[in-house]
């Protein structure tokens, strides 16, 4: 989920950059030295997971997993998502440099919301854990799509149709995201409960 270079207006790009710098500062501050490898290697795993294409009817969707990143890493989701986007820009030219700020914020902030709202549910029984993961994963993607659509509409009023289509396209994907995130947290709860903190 990216906005390409050259599309958004200067105020939107600058606000995205400022918000992301704030998030990155908090995130980096929260990573203790002993957690540096953990954040880095989990980010590698998320990067590989986002390359998996999940079948969805006749089409397929690739995972974003920003909700899961948020649930597992909290504020460290900002550096985690930032480095993944930076690498995608350098290697594949997805997204872009000037949009790094707005793209990082749109994906990481909803992840942090999921961390605070749904993490409490992960210490209950299996069905509640699944529900927590489902909502955390699905809503993080919905909110991220809403942020990006909002950035488009603020840039240019006639983007409303583009932004609306973009948002609606992400609704079915967010359900898949929710189901997968739900099963992942149930699995982690079973196999390595300390990962859920």
């Amino acid at each position: 989920m990216h906005i390409s270079e050259g599309v958004l207006s200067v105020p939107v790009l600058v606000s995205g950059a400022v918000l992301s710098v704030v998030g990155l500062t908090i995130g980096l501050h929260k990573i203790k030295n002993e957690n540096i490898p953990k954040v880095a290697i989990l980010s590698s795993a998320f990067f590989i997971a986002s390359l998996i294409h999940i079948p969805l009817g006749p089409a397929s969707a690739h995972l974003v997993l920003n909700g899961l990143v948020g649930i597992l890493l909290g504020w460290a989701a900002f550096p985690s998502i930032f480095i993944a986007l930076l690498l995608q820009t350098v290697l594949f030219q997805f997204g872009g440099f000037t949009t790094l700020g707005i793209n990082t914020f749109s994906m990481a902030m909803p992840g942090v919301f999921s961390y605070y709202i749904f993490r409490g549910l992960l210490h209950r029984g299996k069905n509640i854990v699944f529900l927590g993961g489902f909502l955390g994963g699905a809503l993080a993607l919905v909110v991220a799509a809403a942020f990006i659509s909002l950035a488009l509409v603020i840039t240019e009023k006639s983007f409303t149709a583009v932004a609306g289509t973009f948002f609606i396209m992400h609704l079915p994907v967010s359900i898949i995201e929710g189901i997968i995130t739900g099963f992942v947290v149930v699995y982690l709860k079973k196999v390595k409960p300390e990962a859920l903190g």
């Binding site: 390409s4 540096i36 490898p37 999940i54 196999v191 990962a195």
Partner: protein, 247 residues
């Protein structure tokens, strides 16, 4: 995984100092992204094209990247010319195309492609590790660069783990479909990858502690700026100033 495909080459830009390339690139993309109209972005596009001639990257790969990047742009072309609230219209059969809307879409297209060409020729021509190294010289926070370094280093390792799990799944007859079972299987594959990552991270941290890790990697090698790198940067900046004055 074959990732750094554009960094294989021996052109001037492949050999240039990554610190200067990053600085020129940052300046270029900020100026280009904030430009408006058709003429100014077009000047920036010509600058990127010149870089492309110098860098001599793989053309087929370049085109496939441009096509993917222009997917969103195609989306804009589909909606904007009919939805833009401009005064003058071009009537094309049943369609009423706004002249200003067309201009706007064209401007976005030029800007987007100019920056992508600059990304490929200035950033992707360096290896990711030398870019990370350059980021340290450019005062990017050490912790962020350290996380980035380990993140990139372990992508190939985790990818191999993924391929192993995938082969194991297909040996057991797993065929992805739109079913809950498929989603559950993918979730368990991802969960497995995450657990392996946790365990690897603990081992790596212990190994790093044994080697005296204190939160960052000290710089060992240093870059050497050549005279031609400085000339390239000055020429680029002069071009940017000229474009800025002209607009």
């Amino acid at each position: 995984m074959h990732l750094e495909e554009f960094s294989e080459g021996s052109s001037f830009l492949h050999k240039a100092d990554p610190r200067l390339k990053i600085l020129v690139f940052v300046l270029f993309s900020v100026l280009c992204a904030t430009a408006s109209g058709i003429k100014t972005p077009l000047f920036y596009f010509f600058y990127s094209l010149t870089l492309l001639l110098i860098a001599k990257v793989k053309i087929r790969l370049l085109f496939s990247r441009l096509i993917v990047a222009n997917f969103f742009i195609a989306f804009v072309w589909f909606f904007i010319p009919t939805g833009y609230s401009g005064n003058s219209y071009i009537i094309l059969g049943p369609l009423k195309l706004s002249y200003e809307g067309l201009n706007y879409a064209l401007s976005i297209t030029i800007k987007c492609n100019a920056i992508i060409l600059a990304t490929i020729t200035l950033l992707s021509t360096s290896s990711v590790f030398s870019l990370a190294h350059a980021m340290l010289h450019l005062k990017v926070p050490k912790k962020l660069v350290t996380v980035f370094f380990l993140f990139y280093r372990y992508i190939t390792v985790i990818h191999e783990e993924y391929l192993k799990i995938k082969i194991a799944a297909s040996l057991r007859g797993f065929v992805p479909r739109t079913t809950l079972h498929t989603y559950k299987t993918y979730a368990y594959i991802i969960g497995g990858m995450l657990i392996k990552s946790y365990e690897k991270a603990e081992e790596i941290y212990k190994a790093m502690l044994c080697r005296g890790f204190r939160g960052y990697f000290p710089l060992f090698e240093h870059f050497h700026i050549r005279k031609s790198d400085i000339i390239f940067s000055i020429v680029s900046i002069v071009v940017f100033i000229l474009i800025w004055v002209k607009s």
